[in-house]
Amino acid sequence: MALTKELRAARPPRPGALRRRNTLIGLSFVLPNFIGFAVLTLVPVLALFYLSFTDWNVFGRANWTGTANLERLLNDSSFWTALRNTLYYTGVHVPVTMALSLALALLLNTRLRGVRFFRTAAFFPYVTSIVAVAAVWNMMFSPDSGPINQLLAAAGIADPPGWTTSTDWSMPSVIIVGVWRDLGFYMLLFLAGLQTIPRELYEAATIDGAGAWQRFRHVTLPGLRPTTFFISVICTIGSLKVFDLILVMTQGGPGQSTLVLSQYIYQKGFVQNQFGYASSISVVLFLICVSVTLVQFLVNRRRNA
């Protein structure tokens, strides 16, 4: 606090001192969270990076094997299948979830009657037990007795998809449930973001003769940019790491049609006790996440500029 009082004094401090002061204050804000984070999360994560170059199996020593894991990875067709499936899931899940949750947030930000109820309802999928979610959706997708195919049949579609029981349709099915489940979560974040847009901007835009679409395009979207950026990063990383949803819906099947990287990591580690190899798959997943995030950062910065 003494430092800031000094800052307030009329004479401008030397640049070096100001820098040091800023650093100290900055650190004082960050440290309470960062210390806990560094000790409890960063250290094990660094250990993981080391382990990815070893043959660690939890019980024994971790012998350094250099790039052996990496070479194995390149020739591991299951890994490539999992990678392809993960990218498929992410590539569809992220844009669809973001678009729909934004639309939902806009809808629920209005003064429709009963909007409070709908807001609560929209959040329910995220809260409902995932076991129940999987059970109900799997029943809906049931090829013979499920309501979805019964509807399709009633609509005259002769050969409705097999959904979770078919290798072609299992991933779309999982994505549908993934979007449905995550909608409420991101809707809430968009809703919070919408509140930060000053109402005056809308009034000004209206006065300038902007229509609904133009207001959305020129006021809402730019105003939401920090939120959108946050959501796109979190949603992308979350999709690349998707795990429990797949596990309860299809367990990666039929065959390997919905096997994703996180699940493959779990299989290699906890089921087959090849933690060294599992660690190197994690590092690859990590690198993918980081590069996608970096791209998002750059795009975001360019838009802001």
Binding site: G26, L27, Q195
Partner: protein, 293 residues
Amino acid sequence: MSLTDTRVTPDLRTPAAAGPGRRISFWRVLGYIALTVAAIGVLAPFFWMVLSSLKTNNNVFTVPIRWVPDWQFGNYVDIWTKSDMLTWVKNTLILSVVITFLQVLTGSFAAYGFSRLRWPGRDVLFLAYLATIAVPWQAYMIPQFILFSKLNLSNTLWAMVALQAFGAFGVFLMKQFYETVPEELSEAARLDGLSEYGIWRRIMLPLSIPAIASLTLLTFVNVWNDYLGPLIYLRDPDLWTIQIGLKTFIGQYNAQYALIMTGSVLSVLPIAIVFALGQKYFVQGIATTGIKG
């Protein structure tokens, strides 16, 4: 659209609310239809959960789905008398409240340091935060567990607090919201003699209420529903949370689905209440707090 819009509809934040006369009713009707369809789709699994909690075990999963319960209200008695539901609720509540409080407090505090102050190493540290979100937990779960065991943390509620209170999610979320607050506000406050801590406390916090509200709710829900964390760290039955406790209804070859669904229904209710009560804070924006940029 004409000038009259501003007079007729004071709430102009979204396109759906705008438009006079006939257009309003058109959009409204469309909105209601969309919302009703969505609500049915969204609530169906929850409805099924409630139904299942009123069935006997062997009637939970049938072909076709039975949308009629057996009215087995006994499940709602059994879960309190035959299991330790009370302990589980208590532990879950303690963890959710403590972790949410710490996460929101330290997260929003750290976010200020990351968004409003310039200092060397800031971006590197922030990237370290972000990067760890990108590592799947099941990959470093074991190293972390060994570390916690060496710190004598495992098998205590503290383990869960330590595990979840210092996440990157909250920091990132709050940082993004602080960036929407105009820098001029802080400048003015500095000129008025407020310290950085004062600015955080008096300007940033009040202005980011919707963000804090959503962070609070999301953290609360995540802790409330967390399964893998307690599974690894909380072994003593006295420490179990609801999600872990419900798993004791699953044996090696058998599962008591009706009781699991009963417990799941009970565990959703508090969150629904928290949400219903707290939702006015999600839609309370800058404009309504009376401070203008």
